[in-house]
Amino acid sequence: MAERTAGSLAWPSHDAGPTPPPGTEAPDPAARPRRRPLDFWDRVKFLWLFAVIFAFLAWRRLADNPLVSAHDALRDTLLSTRVLQALFAVEVLRQGHYLVAERSARWYHFVAETTFGRWDRWVDGRDPWARYRAGRLAKAALVLAIGGAVLGVLWDLPWYQALFDAPSRIAGTLFDTAQGLPLIFNVLFIMMIAVGQFVAIFWFLSRGGVDVYRPQEVKTRFSDVWGQDPVLDRVKENIVFLENPKAIEDKGGYVPGGILLWGPPGTGKTLMAEAVAGETGRPFVFVDPGAFQAMFIGVGVLKVKSLFRKLRRLALRYGGVIVFFDEADSLGSRGGAVASSSPGASSGAWRGVAAGVAAGLPPGGSRFDPGCGHWASAQTRHLLHQVALAELGVGAGEDAPGGRAAPGLAGSGGVRGIIMGGMGMGGGGMGTLQALLSEMSGLKKPRGFLNKYVRRWLNMTPKAPFNYRILTMMATNLPDALDPALLRPGRIDRAYQVGFPSTAGRERTYRGYLNKISHDLSAEQVHRLAVISTRATGASIKDIVNEGVVIAIREQRDTVTYQDLIKAKHLKTHGPADDWTYSDWEGHAVAVHEACHAVAMYRLRTREAIDIATIERRGGTGGFVSPVPLEDQFVEWRRELEAEVMTFLASLAGERLFFDGDNSQGVGGDLRASTTIVMTMTTMHGMGETVASHATSLGLIGRRQIQMIEDGTDRQFLETEAGRRVEARLQELLGRVGELLAQDRHHVLAVAHALETHKTISGEDIVAVVEGARGPMVDGSVYHAPVARAELETYHAAVIRAMKEHSRVERGLPRLHPEGAEVDLVHRSGPDAAPRPTYPAGPPLGPPLGPSSPTPPTRPDGTP
């Protein structure tokens, strides 16, 4: 006993009997929660309010009748306020209950869990739409009852008669000038009309821009989306969760609330959304991207609120709803200037660059001059665009390995940098984005006037809102333009890249569209089309097939051929050529320039094939060689980058090799690109003699690496030790590619001849020329006969002579025949040709290339 009382912690103060086995203890009532104590004001506020109302009524009786005694006034007031007294009594009971519940967990549990809790659980088990409608009905009935009671008292009528008479009485009061209303009512009435005008205008302006499709109204199906199977599977998964929410909710999860589909234009994002609309059993709400561009401040906010009100209603009625924001960047960007539909003159140019970066395509018309670098790899093109953007003073995005832009959802990217240069307001302008963010994350907040305000006023916990199952789908090709807050989990839970389809996807897409037309393509040709259509999208493939149909119709055929589609693809990829004719020797020089690129590429590049080579001028581009990746590529290795640089440098090496050490300005773009690549190789990617990365130089920490190289302050870089290493590496690679071209001299001249003859040839033709095989357009075997080789050298020597002497080319372009490789000459100097002036030849403009510089040209058999 002494031990028991020795310390209060040793034993309980009372003997509770045998200790129950673990896990079977009855819940300790004391451990249960009790009601949070109310402060004094909350406890008495309604009693106080009722007392004040009573006192007011009594005072009114005293004031209204100068004869009445205080006793009679109190008594009469008491007799005429039965409802008030009943409310008072209820409030006393309620506060009594609260008082007990604050002290007794048992009582609190009994009331909150056993009685009202049971009712709440029963109600929660009902159909949400039925609850919603019943709730609305009950609220309407309550309003009518209270209104009837009040009007009945005012008009001394039964409540139902007061309700019946209310419209005519109120209208009579408001519009009958003979009523002689007090001035305050007149003022209020005028204010009501003034405010009502604004309400009506804004209500009208907040309409529109939202289309609701009921299930089965849209005919597009998942089977109509080709080439995006992985993404489609992911999207289907979300739809399954929406269709059957119990599958995830019963396991403690929740239905994902938002999906972002991002990727280049034309890859099928909108089509995918349409398919969702067609497949789902839930309503599908399509939001017009321009719907939130409003003239007046606040209209966009109203539209967003109106939209989500509609979504909540649909979600309740149908058990879920899908809302799709197309071109979400127009709404979800704080820098909406560029993304908006009304870019200014300057922002339009930015937009072009941004779109190019996002699409991984060359930006037409940007300051970056690709020269004839159409054949650069995708990574290199992206790198060069970053350089161009940096020169324009625009930050480029963070680089993923290999320099590929990662349009990451978090972190700033180049595109955002562009956009923030604009007018920079909320997405869609003026608080619309903020309203969207609020609505998307505010679905769990208590809703409704009674729930939000009245229950709180009564010190009652607001009821949780319905479980609105709203799946938000957004599509954009400028993901970096989206506000990070929009993309956080809870708003957009999943982001799927709808990228360029894989080869299999492209093949499937080609087959899908070809099945709709008459064609004679074999399965192997369709596959080949898919292989060479790298970065083709569903939209661009559809366009190519349609262009093929146009070509076939133009040539009065009913069936589309493989060649039609090749032509269509080249036309769509590179655009139509200018109507331009080179001077006699300049055409040969351009052909040799491009032939050097083509041969170097054929020899050096293993993961890419040549799509086409052309010497047809397009704007500032005299010609180009265009590659197609043979496989999807994530990073490039040193060997590949060196091959790429050598392919760039092939133009300089080749021009010096074939034109006696001279070279044209046409190599400028190639040198710029190759220098940039070698710089990044040696200073950032550990592909030089040193290891340290210049991207982390003290002065550049936190800066973007491209700025380090090309922001204008590092132009002296080439004078540094690192710059000298870059120059040395370029010289080394130039020498290597020079040697390669010297060994392939005849092949270069042969490809140049094919280009001069056909202007544009395919990659297969180039392979045919080099390998002596038959290509789609060119029979390469003719170039391998000794007489042909000699003739090409003779022709080339004549061109060089004409260049030096500024005279006409004496020999015409040789015509080579497969049978015996006979040669015809295309005589350029006809009798009607005007004589050309001659000038003295100057010295060679560039240094000779050492042993690989064959000057003067020699025949393959060694004779000059």
């Binding site: 009573f54 209204d64 009748n65 100068p66 004869l67 009445v68 005694s69 006793h71 009679d72 109190l74 008594r75 009469d76 008491l78 007799l79 001394d156």
Partner: protein, 193 residues
């Protein structure tokens, strides 16, 4: 709270006749009864048509109060009415322009109680409130062998547009018994401008 509760428990001190818009107030003994027009179909008495601007209540001091008591020629318990009438609705109302015409309302004709045969004016007083003027008459009227004491307070507004009248009738025996109550009722007459 306790005071309020006690107030509810006790009986009333008085009952009141009040027309706040016209500013007419009268205090009656607690055991008197007031019949408003709502107690009876208002169409039965054209003088209680509120749309015409008239208003009339009947007061009855009988234990078994009844509106019909007002029709009695010699009521044994005090009975009367309080009435507000636009003069335009009264036949010959335009002639009500002096104390004599107000006094003559007591007998229901043009006879002035001061001069009428069979009528002894017990008390008479002329009152000018500034915004209203009128008089108070208490007279014994002998009719068919019965003597009825008629007490009347009648006022007109300055524009002679609206007439406010209270009249209490009682037989002579009744008046002797209830004189103090009737006098108190007449004294309580209040007319606000």
């Amino acid at each position: 709270m306790a005071g309020i509760a006690l107030a509810g428990c006790g009986g009333p001190d008085n009952v009141y006749v009040a027309h706040a818009d016209a500013g007419v107030f009268v205090r009656l003994p607690a055991d008197w009864t007031v019949f408003t027009f709502a107690d009876k179909d208002p169409t039965a008495d054209p003088r209680t048509d509120p749309s015409a601007g008239t208003w009339r209540v009947v007061i009855d001091g009988a234990v078994d109060a009844d509106r019909a008591h007002i029709e009695s020629p010699s009521p044994t318990e005090p009975v009367g009415f309080v009435e507000i009438l636009p003069t335009g609705l009264i036949e010959g109302g335009e002639q009500i322009s002096n104390h004599a015409s107000l006094r003559s309302l007591l007998l229901g004709g043009s006879s002035d109680p001061l001069d009428a045969p069979g009528v002894d004016v017990v008390a008479y007083e002329e009152i000018d409130l500034g915004h209203h003027w009128g008089n108070r008459v208490v007279a014994e009227v002998r009719r068919d062998g019965d003597t009825v004491v008629m007490s009347q307070v009648a006022f007109l507004d300055d524009g002679s547009n609206r007439l406010q009248v209270m009249r209490v009738l009682c037989s002579a025996d009744c008046y002797e018994l209830h004189e103090a109550e009737i006098t108190a009722v007449l004294d309580s007459w209040t007319l606000e401008g």
